[in-house]
Structure formats: C-alpha cells, structure tokens
Subunit: 413 residues, 2 copies
Amino acid sequence: MKNLRINKKRLIDRINTLSQIGRNKNKELTRLALSDEDRKGRDQLKAWFGDLDLKFELDQFGNMFGTFQSEENKNEKPLMLGSHIDSVIDAGIYDGVLGVVGALEVVQTIKEEGMTPSRPITVAAFTNEEGVRFPPSMLGSLVYSGDLSIEEALDTVGMDGKRMGDELERIGYKGENLPGFIKPEWYIELHIEQGPILEKENTQIGAVYNLQGNSRREITFTGQANHAGSTPNKMRKDPMQAFSYFSSSLFNYINDNELDTVATIGSIKLQPNAATIIPAKVTFTLDMRSPEQTGFDHAQQFVRALLKEIEDDGKYGVNAREFAIFDPVIFDEEIGDTISASAEALGLSMKKMTSGAGHDAQMINRIAPAAMIFVPSKDGVSHNPNEYTSDEELENGVNVLLQTSLTLLSKSK
Amino acid sequence: MKNLRINKKRLIDRINTLSQIGRNKNKELTRLALSDEDRKGRDQLKAWFGDLDLKFELDQFGNMFGTFQSEENKNEKPLMLGSHIDSVIDAGIYDGVLGVVGALEVVQTIKEEGMTPSRPITVAAFTNEEGVRFPPSMLGSLVYSGDLSIEEALDTVGMDGKRMGDELERIGYKGENLPGFIKPEWYIELHIEQGPILEKENTQIGAVYNLQGNSRREITFTGQANHAGSTPNKMRKDPMQAFSYFSSSLFNYINDNELDTVATIGSIKLQPNAATIIPAKVTFTLDMRSPEQTGFDHAQQFVRALLKEIEDDGKYGVNAREFAIFDPVIFDEEIGDTISASAEALGLSMKKMTSGAGHDAQMINRIAPAAMIFVPSKDGVSHNPNEYTSDEELENGVNVLLQTSLTLLSKSK
C-alpha cells in the first residue's frame, strides 16, 4: 500500500466545485454557517457521500458524516478524517474544504483499490467552524466533544439576530443523532497552514503536534462624549486615551516578552465616531495565542491585571467579555509521528510544528487521539481571496493523509 | 441707553421657530448646509429680515446679510453681528442660531427704541459653518475673508458627491455680491460655549479674547492583513501596533506637557475590521487645539516628527492628510474689553476666556476687528440634542450683545 497515491485531478476538481458555491455578484466567496450558501455546499457534500456509497449521518447540530464501512468492520470505532466547509466573508477556497475533500479523496482511493480496512473511515464536516456569523468559532466540534450542551449551542444567536437552531432547521440539516455519537479511534485533519512558516522554510508538510492556546475578548471602555474643544485631556473621560494606554502596554508586553504569545486587535468601533467629538465608548476585540500553557496563562493574567488597573483608575467603565478561552492543545504523539514518518516515506520535506490557528481537531482531541497535517499557505495569507496553495502541495498533503491513514489502520488489532 | 433691554420672549420664540425647521420623522434636527432644510431655515431668516425692513443682501457663496441703516448712516461701515444657521446631524437648537437670532433681537430692540445709530447694523448668517456635509467647517466666513477664492469654494464636493455651487443655485441662495463686499467696522458673534468652563465656574458671560488654534488630520497607517495566527508580533506589519505607538506617544506628550494643547482621536476605521485578521489599514482622525501659537506649533511639529519616525521605520505606509490647520486667533482687545465692561455693568458674572471651538468670528477677524460673547452650555455638551442653555442665560448673552453694540456705536466718530 506504500505506493498507493490519490487522484490529483479529482481532488482539484472537487475543490473547484465547492469554490463556486457561494459566490456573490462580485464573485466573492462567502459560505457563512447555516446560510443558503452553506446549504448548497452541504448538498454538494451529501451528493459526493452518495456517489461513494458512504453512510450519511447527521447529528442534532448539523455536523455531517459520511462513513465507508463493511460488514466486517462496521462495529469497530472508525478512523475519522475531516474539517469544515463553512467560510468567512470574501474567503479563500482551501480553508476547511481541503480537509473534507481530501478525506473524500482518501476514502475513494482506498475504496477503488478494493481494500477493506480494519476499521470504518468516516469523513466529517463540522458546523460553523469559522464563527463569523455565529461566534465563537469551532462551535460544531465543541458541541461534538460534549463540552457545550446541544441546547445551549442551538440557542446561539448570530450577528444577524438569527438563532442557530432555527437556521439549522430552515436549511434542513438538523439531524437526530446526539453530538458525539460516532466516537473515532483517531481523528486527522488536513488543513492549509494559514501562516507563513512552511513556505518561508521551503517545507512541504507540517506534522502538527500541538496547537496554540487562543483567547478572544471583546473589550469596551466607556467614558463621556463631548465636543473636541478645550477641556484638558487629563480632565476628559476619553476612552480612546484608555484604549491607547491599554493597547500600547499590551503590545510592549508582547514584544518585550520571549513567551511566544501573539496578540491581535483586529476590530474596533468608536461611538459616535466623529472627528470633533470625544468618543463615549470604544469597543474592540483582542485575540491572543500562545503555544505553551505557561505563556498563555501569563498573558491572560497580564490582560486581566491591565483591565483592572484601568477600571480601578475610576475614570472609565470597563467591560471585558471573554468569549473564547481555549488552552493550548497537545495532540496525539503517535498520530503526529505517523504523519512525520509518512511524509518522509513519501520523500517530502517535513517539519514538526505548532498550529497558530484554531481548528476542529482541538475539540475532537478531547474525545479521541487527534493530530493535523499542514500544507503551505502562500505568504501565510488566509481568510482572504488571495489564499493559495499549489495543486502539487495539496496533492502532497492528501497523499500524507492517505499514507498516515493506511499506517494507522494497519496497526489496529 | 444703559437701561435698554432685549425682549426675552421674542428671542426665545425665534429660537424655537428655527428649532422646528429641519426635524425628521424621528424628531431629530438636521439642517445641513445647502440642503432643503437649510433653505427653509434661510427662508425664515429672510422673512424676519423683511419684517424688520432690513436691507437683504446675498453674496456669491450664499452668505446672508440683513442691514438696518438710515439715510444718515448708510455710507458708514456697519457694525456686523452674526453667526450661522446650518447645523450638524441630530443637532441641538442653539449652536449658531443664537448668534443670528440674537443679532436680529438687538436690531429690533434698537429700532423700536427709535434710535438712529451712528452706523448701520448688519445681521450676518454665514454659509456652511459646520462643514459636516461640505468639509472643512467655517467655509462661508473663510471665503468672505478672502482667504479662499469663490471659484475654489464653489467647487467643493460634499460627502454626498454634490458640488456646493450647484446646491447653492438649486436652493436659490446664490447671490451677485462678491464675498467681502460689506466690510464691517467691527464683528461680534454671540455663541453658546460648547464647553464646560462657564457652567463649572458658575459664570454667566464669557468675553472671548482669543480662539484656539485647530488642526485636523486624517491619518492612515498601511500594513499587511493576515490571519491572527502565529506570526510573531515583531514580524507582523500590523498597523494597529503603529497606531498604538502613535496614539500613546501623542497622549503622553499632551498629558505631560503644560502647553495647554488638547488632542482628540474621535474616529477610527480598520480594514477589514475582523477579530481574527491583522488589519491591513488603520485610518483615524486627529483633532488638536492650542490657545497659543507656540504650543500649537510645537504640537504640529511633534505630530509630524512622530509620523516621520513611524514612516522611517519602513514597516508601514503613512499618509497624513492635513485638512485644516488654523492658527490660534487673537481677537480685538477693544471689543473684548467692551464686552467685559458691558457684562459687568449688567451685573453679570463674567470671565475673560479662550474659545475651544472654531467659529466664523475667527475668519472675519482677518478683515475686521472681531470678538465673541459666550453663554454657558449645560455639561459642555454641543453638537447633540442635549445641548442646553437656559432662557435666562440666553437673554443675558443678548443683552450683553446689545450693550456692547451700543457702547461701540457711541464711540465711533
């Protein structure tokens, strides 16, 4: 089986097919979770499951599964391969899609070879990984892991005021199965890196052994609006002054520190946002990531202390909504080593690495051994139409997924 | 004449009449320059000019004048009293209106007393003081002062893409006279303070001897968008890091300095403005004001040097559009002292002060001696429906305007 290879053309065709589902008039790709565009993407995936005679199953949160099984292996825990097919606004075509379509390709390759693996292989597509319409991200796999109740998750209200449960029923993808109903033996997620490391180091495959801790907050400083007249800055309750103090203190901390924590203030909103009016309110998001628990905890403490300092000053109202605090994740070493060995056996350059972004694998890792495979992202760009990975690099990634799967399947029992 | 007083009821009635012109469905008052609402306000003012038999004149930029004159004094340079009647969006009812309606009230009081002053008295309402629809602000009085050509000013394009010259003709307020055609002997502008000082110090009248220098910029830092993943902050081209450095350096400079300069970052926009994406671009406004030329110049130098430092760092694109740099203004001391003396003679508490906001008086000061009278603004609030000055405080201000006018008119010749 070491010589078995996937079909590159079929892989690329499927990526291209999905890339056309959800284009608006301006040709922008937007397949937000539980939108009509997401439904069309799901319909396509379901059709592919049908083409390959996979057993289609849906859970109550809309997580989709297509299982290749036989009479002999159907009672074994499956190998699960997957990712997600929802997207951000004006997205690229690879994020998430590669892991699902790559999994389909692995199954089809094995199937066409006439093999009967020791275990079923399940292709998974998790609901709302991006969290753009319904924050937070990775909600489908979080629910699947059992760490958020299905009732609470279905009550999530989106940016557009719609309830997830209602939208799920509307698009016809609310299933009967309880989340977590298929407990895999292993979970592997192939994904584009969404960072610059592999490309910069001219490396073809990333074997992902761990994943950065990620915290996301929405922070509001409230002051008092006023005309930008003569009131001395010290006497003002100008929340932009609080923000400047906060953000510069934070970036200084991050840049002076060797703990590998990164911080992003990606969005900000002033009220009323007019040139000659001191704002009443500044609301912004803070995303922080650390590969190690120590650095992660230290950064969380730093931010909480800084917010308390500003609040204790008494001038500003401070509200910090911590809407995702995910500790760093250590993936399964056996799967990581199998990925590393498979890449090397295929003659591909390989790097053992940390994921900078969050992925469904970190949630599934809570209920089963999991790990990830990365392929290069041009310029590290993602969440953007310029997201790019060459066809050959995609092919390499899926071949590593195939060989890793075969090795794991040959190990069992 | 020292006992002559204005008619409070008539004053308040006129303010209330104008306050109803330009209300939308939500009862919000918006009388943007050269809009249909502005036209209706102008029609009302013109009707009042007619009621008082004032000579109505219009210049080519729509600045409106109503002159009370006699055969004996018509060749003398007039005393000019005025302000503006255009408003911001969702405005208060006093800003600008008080100076125009107060001038009408002064003229009517003198007229009804049967006096023939030594000079004509001209009531002025300048076009587009607010600059909300057509930036920059104070454009009508700037053109009137001769420091911007009428051709260039008429070509100003508004936020809605409309050209001022076209809109002026559309509403029927483009006159024949050249801006500056009436050169006053003195100009006095009565205005609400738009700041908290008078109210805080429990003072009824501000005699305004000078006006803060005001600079307004729109600054853009351009970096490179990317996923908020693992790229170390130091390696990112994150324009929010540049902004944090800029804003904290600026506020530290302002707060550590005794030069009385104030700075407001009132609006900001990130692109793409998403929690998990390092922004490509940060655009924000910076408004700075200083009462003294030295402090004003020093702050301008500080900002330019700080921007150059960020640009020289080589990481970011820096674009700073200086769309208004108005030096501090020293008003006419004789008028200021006459205002002070008039307030005291009326038994009102009085403070010699600096204007924090820009006003038409600063432009007219370039062609004639000018000064201003302030009355208190509750909580310093302006450009807002909560703008409030009590009827009695308004009355006080107009009585000071009347007595100052009488004193100046008695001095001449």
